[in-house]
C-alpha cells in the first residue's frame, strides 16, 4: 500500500507475455539470480517495456491512505470507542473470511480426532479466527467478545496495535486478500483507516516502525516443552460436590510440576481434548491438585476417570501471585465460586508459611451451601487464631443448613476490619464479580495497585500463540492469569 516504486523485494518478475523480466531488488535476489539457468540480459527495449508495465500496475495499486501506516497505532488507540466499528460491523457476516486469508493471522484451535477403532487418532491444529463468535468462549459458557462489532474491532486493533506491541511490526502487509474476500466489503484496511481518519478531529501521532517490543521471541522455550504433554497419573479422586471433583496428580517422569501459586496447566485427556485448569495446591511436594467442574468434553471425561488413569500435562504456564514479593504484607483473600480453586494454591502456601505474612483475612462466597468447596479446610480455618474468615452464600434454601452469612460477596466486605492502605487484596471469582468487588475496595480507599486479580479466559494453547485468551493486546496465558488491577484497569476488555 502507498504505492511504488520504493517497495522492498528480492526479485520482481514482470510478465512480458512470452518472456519474464526479472529485476533484482536486493543482494539476496542478485545471489539467487546468479544461480539460475536460462538467463540473459534484457535488451533496452525489454527493460523499458518491463518498467512501463510495472508503473502501470503500480498506478492501479495506488490507494489514498489518509493516515500513513505509521499513524495507525495512534488512530486505533484514539478511535477505540468510535461508532465507525458498529457502523461497519452492521454489514459484517461474521464469516471469518478476512482472518482466514490474512497472511499475518495465525490463531488456531486444536481438536482431538479419534478413528473408528476408538483407540487411535490425531490431535489436529486447525485455523481459527477472532471474527468467529465462539473464538473467546470458555468452558463455563462466557463469550468475551460476543458482539460482532467487538470482534471486528479486535481484528484491526490486532493488526495495528496488539501484534506491533508484541512483535514490533505492523501486521498488515497490504496484500489486499481480506478486501478481495470480504463479500460485504468492510474488511479493506484502507477504507477502514480512512473512515477512522475522517472520524478523528485531533492530529494523529506517527510512530516509528519497528516499535519497541515487550516480547523476546528468541527466548521462547523449546517447542517440545510447549506442545508435548508429559504423562501423569491420577493418584486420588475426591468428589467435592455434584459437579466438582478434586484430582491429585503425579508426573510419571518423577520430575515435579514445579508450579508457583496462581499458575495453570493444560490437562490432556487423549482422544477427548485439552483444557486449561488452575493448579489448586500449594507449591512443593511430589503431587499437585486440580479441581474440575463438569462443563465440557474434557471435564466431563475427567469426572469418569479413576485413580491410576493417565492424563497429559503441559505447563505450568502463566505468572503467579508472587508469594515472595508479598511476604510481610497483610492479605485479604476474596474468592467467589470456583475462584477459590486457583486462590487456594496461594492461600494454602500462606497458611503453610504463616509467619512470613501479616494479617490474613479470607472472604469466601458461593451461590448456595451445597457449592461450598474444601469444607474440611474451611473447618480447619475455624481452629486457627492467626486468621480471620467469613463465608457467605447468595441464597440458602430451607432444606439446607448454613451458619455463615447470606448475601453476595460484597455484603461481607464491610463486616471485616482491615486497613485498606496497608492490605493487599487477592480477588478471584467469576467475571461479573470483579466489577463490584474492585469498586467496593477502591471506595474503601484501597490503592489500585493493592488489588490483585486472576482472570479466566480461553487459554487454549497456554503459550501465547493461539490468540483465544487475549484481553485487548494482552495474552492472559503469558502475562496473566494474575494481574495487578492497576496494570489492566484501563483495558476495555478486562472487566
Amino acid at each position: 500500500m502507498g504505492g511504488p516504486p520504493e517497495i522492498a523485494f528480492d526479485l520482481m518478475l514482470t510478465d512480458l507475455g512470452d518472456r519474464v523480466a526479472v529485476t533484482p531488488g536486493s543482494q539476496a535476489g542478485t545471489d539467487l539470480l546468479s544461480k539460475a539457468a536460462n538467463l540473459r540480459d534484457a535488451t533496452p527495449e525489454e527493460m523499458e517495456e518491463a518498467q512501463s508495465l510495472q508503473m502501470q500496475i503500480a498506478g492501479k495499486a495506488v490507494r489514498d491512505l489518509k493516515v500513513s501506516p505509521k499513524g495507525w497505532y495512534d488512530l486505533l488507540e484514539k478511535n477505540y470507542d468510535s461508532n465507525v466499528w458498529a457502523k461497519q460491523a452492521a454489514k459484517c457476516l461474521s464469516c471469518g473470511s478476512c482472518t482466514l486469508v490474512c497472511p499475518t493471522c495465525f490463531c488456531y484451535d486444536v481438536t482431538d480426532e479419534v478413528n473408528l477403532d476408538l483407540t487411535t487418532g490425531e490431535r489436529k491444529r486447525t485455523w481459527d479466527g477472532c471474527l468467529l463468535r465462539d473464538f473467546t468462549k470458555v468452558g463455563t459458557g462466557e463469550i468475551f467478545r460476543e458482539k460482532v462489532e467487538n470482534r471486528y474491532r479486535h481484528r484491526f486493533n490486532r493488526k495495528g496495535r496488539y501484534l506491533p506491541d508484541n512483535l514490533g511490526f505492523l501486521a498488515c502487509v497490504g496484500c489486499g486478500r481480506c478486501s478481495s474476500q470480504c463479500v460485504p466489503d468492510i474488511a479493506d484496511p484502507v477504507n477502514l483507516f480512512n473512515a477512522l481518519a475522517d472520524a478523528t478531529k485531533e492530529p494523529v501521532i506517527e510512530s516509528e516502525i519497528p516499535i519497541a517490543v515487550k516480547t523476546d521471541v528468541a527466548s521462547a522455550p523449546e517447542a517440545e516443552a510447549l506442545y508435548i504433554p508429559r504423562q501423569a497419573t491420577l493418584k486420588r479422586v475426591e468428589k467435592l460436590t455434584d459437579i466438582e471433583t478434586l484430582f491429585e496428580i503425579a508426573m510419571d517422569d518423577g520430575r515435579p510440576l514445579g508450579h508457583q501459586p496462581g499458575q495453570f496447566i493444560e490437562v490432556s485427556v487423549m482422544g477427548t481434548g485439552e483444557a486449561p485448569l488452575s493448579v489448586s495446591s500449594a507449591p512443593g511436594g511430589d503431587t499437585f491438585e486440580i479441581v474440575v467442574r463438569k462443563v465440557g468434553d474434557v471435564t466431563n471425561k475427567l469426572h469418569t476417570m479413576k485413580p491410576g488413569d493417565k492424563v497429559g500435562i503441559r505447563g505450568p504456564f502463566g505468572n503467579d501471585f508472587d508469594a515472595e514479593g508479598l511476604k510481610g504484607k497483610n492479605l485479604l483473600f476474596i474468592g467467589g465460586g470456583l475462584g477459590i480453586v486457583p486462590m487456594r494454591s496461594f492461600l494454602n502456601h500462606v497458611l503453610n508459611n504463616r509467619g512470613d505474612y501479616g494479617e490474613v483475612t479470607i472472604l469466601y462466597g458461593c451461590k448456595e451451601p451445597c457449592e461450598l468447596l474444601f469444607s474440611d479446610e474451611v473447618t480447619a480455618w475455624g481452629q486457627r487464631d492467626d486468621i480471620r474468615y467469613l463465608l457467605t452464600v447468595d441464597a440458602c434454601s430451607e432444606d439446607e443448613s448454613w451458619e455463615g452469612e447470606i448475601g453476595v460477596i460484597t455484603t461481607i466486605i464491610p463486616k471485616v476490619q482491615f486497613d485498606p492502605q496497608n492490605t493487599i487484596a487477592i480477588v478471584v471469582g467469576p467475571p461479573i464479580m470483579y466489577r463490584f468487588v474492585n469498586k467496593d475496595l477502591l471506595d474503601l480507599g484501597m490503592p489500585e495497585e493493592n488489588i490483585i486479580v486472576s482472570l479466566e479466559r480461553r487459554m487454549k494453547c497456554g503459550v501465547g500463540k493461539c490468540g483465544h485468551c487475549q484481553i485487548n493486546g494482552i495474552y492472559v496465558c503469558k502475562e496473566g492469569p494474575v494481574f495487578n488491577y492497576k496494570d489492566i484497569k484501563d483495558l476495555p476488555e478486562a472487566f
Binding site: 459484517c92 457476516l93 471469518g96 473470511s97 478413528n115 485455523w127 478481495s180 460485504p184
Partner: protein
C-alpha cells in the same frame, strides 16, 4: 455404554441420508464392531424395538407420525435427527405456506382413481404439516445436511461412544471454503448462502462450483440482515432472496426469526 443397540427410522424423506450410511463402504466393518444395528429397514429385514440409540430421518407430517416418533423417543436413550428433513423439516416444509387442501389440489388436481384413497378419512392425508423432530420431541443431537455427510455420521457416532458432544461446527461454510482455497461464489456472480450456513460439509457445493443452499441450516447466530444486504448489493431481488432463503431454511422464516 457397551456396544450400544442402534436403530434407524424414517419419516417424510427420500431416505437418502440412510443410504449414505449404507454406503459407508469399508468403514461399515468398523462401525458394526462398535454398535449392534437392530433396525434399519433400508438394509435389513430384522427389526427390534429394543435399542439405545435411534437415528431418525425425515420430517414429521401427520398425527400418526407424531405418535410413532413419541414411541421411538420413549424407547431410545439417545435420539439423533438425521439430515435436513429431520433437522429443519426439509424442502417439503415449503408446502406449509399453503393449506393442505391447496396442496392436495396442486398435486392431484381433480383426478380421482379411487375416491377412498384421497378421501379425508384416509389417515395418510390427515393434516399434513411438516415439522422438524425437535418441534415434536426432545432431540439429543442433529446430523445436518441434505444428504448427511457419511464422514460426519462416523464422527458423531465416535463422539457419542466416547461420551463427547458431537463435533458439529457452529461457524459458516465460508470458513471451509477459505480453507480449501475455493473461489468465492459471489466473485463469480453466484448467490451463496455460505456466510449464514452451518459448516461441516467441507464446503461441498461451492467446491464443485455450486452455490450453498444452506441445507445444514444456519449457524446459531446468523447475521441474516447483513446477508440480505449482500444479496441486494449483488442485484438479487427481495423475492429471489426469499426463495434463496427458504429452500431448506423455511423453518426460520416460518418462525419469523433466524437461528436454531
Amino acid at each position: 455404554m457397551d456396544k450400544p443397540r442402534v436403530a434407524f427410522f424414517d419419516f417424510s424423506s427420500c431416505e437418502g441420508c440412510q443410504l449414505q450410511i449404507a454406503n459407508l463402504e469399508e468403514a461399515v466393518v468398523e462401525v458394526v464392531k462398535l454398535i449392534d444395528i437392530v433396525a434399519f429397514r433400508e438394509v435389513m429385514k430384522e427389526h427390534s424395538d429394543d435399542y439405545d440409540i435411534a437415528f431418525v430421518e425425515g420430517s414429521i407430517t401427520r398425527p400418526m407420525d407424531v405418535e410413532r416418533l413419541k414411541k421411538i423417543r420413549e424407547n431410545a436413550e439417545i435420539l439423533i435427527a438425521l439430515g435436513a428433513c429431520a433437522h429443519l423439516g426439509g424442502v417439503q416444509r415449503l408446502s406449509n405456506q399453503w393449506t393442505s387442501e391447496e396442496n392436495k389440489q396442486e398435486v392431484y388436481g381433480d383426478y380421482v382413481s379411487d375416491p377412498d384413497d384421497i378421501a379425508d378419512t384416509n389417515p395418510f392425508f390427515e393434516k399434513p404439516r411438516h415439522r422438524a423432530l425437535d418441534e415434536v420431541v426432545e432431540v439429543d443431537y442433529v446430523i445436518p445436511g441434505c444428504p448427511i455427510d457419511k464422514g460426519e455420521f462416523a464422527k458423531v457416532l465416535i463422539a457419542i461412544l466416547q461420551g463427547k458432544k458431537p463435533p458439529i461446527p457452529d461457524y459458516p461454510v465460508c470458513v471451509e471454503c477459505k480453507k480449501k482455497e475455493n473461489v468465492c461464489m459471489f466473485e463469480i456472480g453466484k448467490f451463496c448462502m455460505g456466510p449464514l450456513a452451518r459448516a461441516g460439509c467441507d464446503a461441498r457445493c461451492p467446491s464443485a462450483g455450486n452455490e450453498c443452499e444452506a441445507c445444514r441450516g444456519y449457524v446459531s447466530h446468523p447475521h441474516s440482515n447483513a446477508q440480505s444486504d449482500v444479496l441486494e448489493k449483488y442485484g438479487l431481488t427481495a423475492d429471489a432472496i426469499m426463495q434463496r432463503k427458504t429452500m431448506f431454511t423455511y423453518r426460520y422464516e416460518e418462525a419469523g426469526k433466524g437461528g436454531d
